[in-house]
Symmetry: C2
Subunit: 336 residues, 2 copies
């Protein structure tokens, strides 16, 4: 197969094949270079493959697996016992070089644990981080990490996230000198917890890094930073809160009447910024290959977006850029 | 003076007397029972008192102070050296029984430290928490705590916040059996960090508490809980992120043309939910008297709202309710 091969966990997320198969079909028709390796249960996947004539597609290989990772599975359990799951097998395909990126809408904790086991992190990276895009007031995007892969982070991890985020912004957002900020509860130097303050001091010392200081939650969308760094608990709550506000504004209660319906339509268009269908696909970065985590509740358009994001990461060779950054960053500035 | 006396720090926040004096005047005219004790710098406050004829008002007492707490002051410094500041003197007035509640728009860290020193916490309460209201999709409100007073919280503190929040919901929101939830990164029992998981286990054991489990950021506004508990770092980021999303949606860029202006007006009305002018006044609860923290950037209407909130807390005697709850909750369920 060519270099542009993506492994897909067809079973993850709330819907499985009814969502993942149509997305795969569309990705193949959009990108003539793309090859896919599909992993899933024979019983559940086959009818959908037949329906969409995917089984005989020249750029598709199908590998059936006997297990699935559920949302109820703890990471440690999945790691030990679900070695023939579609998620695990898709990651194995990266490790063996069969594919260069992988997409799954499954359990984040299990995906993280399995990815660390099968792919391992890049030299100098302790733990991968989950990174996602945020729309900005003036147009364009910023990146936010971590959004849920690491719930407790020390200063060292936050510094590593900053270096990884910098490369992601350079290659994914195409910003040559991205401004890096730390998410905090105030802008003054004495604000925040120990990890954030220590990370701030250390980021000031990192060579050739544009560190712009602390940023508060109300500036996440204001265009003040290109990369915002925080621990995974805080990032996850911030991301989901923004979705919650969007939903509050679209609350059904006020949609009676024609004018109200028009206004709601207009608002929805504006809120498409925050629509997970368009902003789907957080990436697990810091690993030796690209792993894209699709939203569990993603529909086909959202899962397609996640596939396209995986392709973009292959094309930019994000893992190589991160490896290079960690190789050249002065050791003492981010070593524990 | 009567029982309904509020002490006001006239110097706190970004504006001081130009904002606090008009708010005080309006509060006095709205509430014929209200008495105020005003604390501030003679030079800065006097011209405004003269302008609004407050100096000779029968329900007003003015006490001049020589110092002010700035945003740049660390809590420890303020505590030791700013003992004649308007903030400190207003809190002293609570401690001496001269007033029953206090309002300040000043530095949160200093306010917290000074309040703990002068008022001390209620028996069984380790640290006060900052609590605020959140609008809900179906109408009504929920309470969120802590929103910035305690950046690192263990399980014990989260449990205490739940008990305090329960009483606040009962008396401020008038909900007899409020549903209490913990803010987390997932709804499943195995999600979250250690403090949140341990707090969840302990809340299940608390007598007569309606604990409803974990809630995620996207449900902060969905009406699923009446009280949402988290540490102050997470709560602060969640609250400010929601303000940031509101601002993103009101971004100036798209306001050209007549229709766009009408739509933006409509949207602003809808967003008034999240307008700090209307939702101003987070309270520091768990202390022996009511301390209301106004937004630093509050204008007069917002500062007025904070005064009204202080009055409401006096009328409901929230400190007494919290004291009673901690007295009756079984010791082993919330003792460390």
């Amino acid at each position: 197969m060519s270099q542009l091969t993506v492994a897909l966990d067809m079973m993850g997320g709330d819907y499985g094949p009814p969502v993942t198969v149509p997305a795969a079909v569309q990705a193949l028709s959009l990108l003539p270079e793309l090859n896919l390796v599909l992993f899933g249960s024979q019983t559940e996947l086959s009818p959908w493959l037949r329906r969409f004539r995917l089984a005989s597609h020249t750029r598709v290989r199908v590998q059936f697996c006997s297990q699935q990772v559920g949302n109820e599975h703890k990471a440690a359990y999945a790691l030990r016992h679900l070695t023939d799951s579609s998620m695990r097998r898709a990651l194995d395909a990266l490790a063996s070089g069969q594919a260069r990126a992988c997409v799954s809408a499954g359990n984040t904790g299990a995906l993280m644990a399995m990815a660390m086991k099968t792919l391992s992190t890049l030299p100098g990276v302790d733990r991968p981080a989950l990174i996602t895009r945020l729309p900005q007031t003036g147009g364009g995007h910023a990146l936010l990490l971590d959004v849920g892969a690491n719930l407790n982070c020390g200063a060292e991890q936050l510094v590593q996230f900053a270096l990884m985020g910098e490369q992601a912004a350079r290659h994914i957002l195409n910003i040559s000198h991205p401004r890096i900020a730390l998410l905090n509860v105030g802008a003054e130097a004495n604000k925040g917890n120990e990890a954030v303050r220590e990370a701030g001091l250390r980021l000031q010392q990192v060579d050739a890094l544009h560190y712009s200081g602390y940023i508060e939650g109300d500036d996440l969308f204001s265009g003040q930073a290109d990369v915002v760094v925080c621990d995974g608990f805080v990032g996850n709550v911030a991301l989901k809160t923004s979705e919650g506000v969007a939903r509050l504004l679209l609350g059904q209660r006020q949609q009676r009447g024609f004018l109200s319906k028009i206004l709601t339509f207009w608002l929805k268009k504006r809120l498409s910024h925050l629509n997970p269908d368009q902003y789907n696909g957080a990436s697990l970065i810091g690993l030796r290959a690209s792993v894209v985590k699709s939203h569990g509740s993603a529909g086909s358009p959202a899962f397609l977006n996640a596939i396209l994001q995986a392709v973009s990461e292959i094309e930019h060779d994000l893992p190589a850029s991160i490896a290079h950054r960690f190789d050249t960053a002065p050791r003492d500035s981010h070593a524990r």
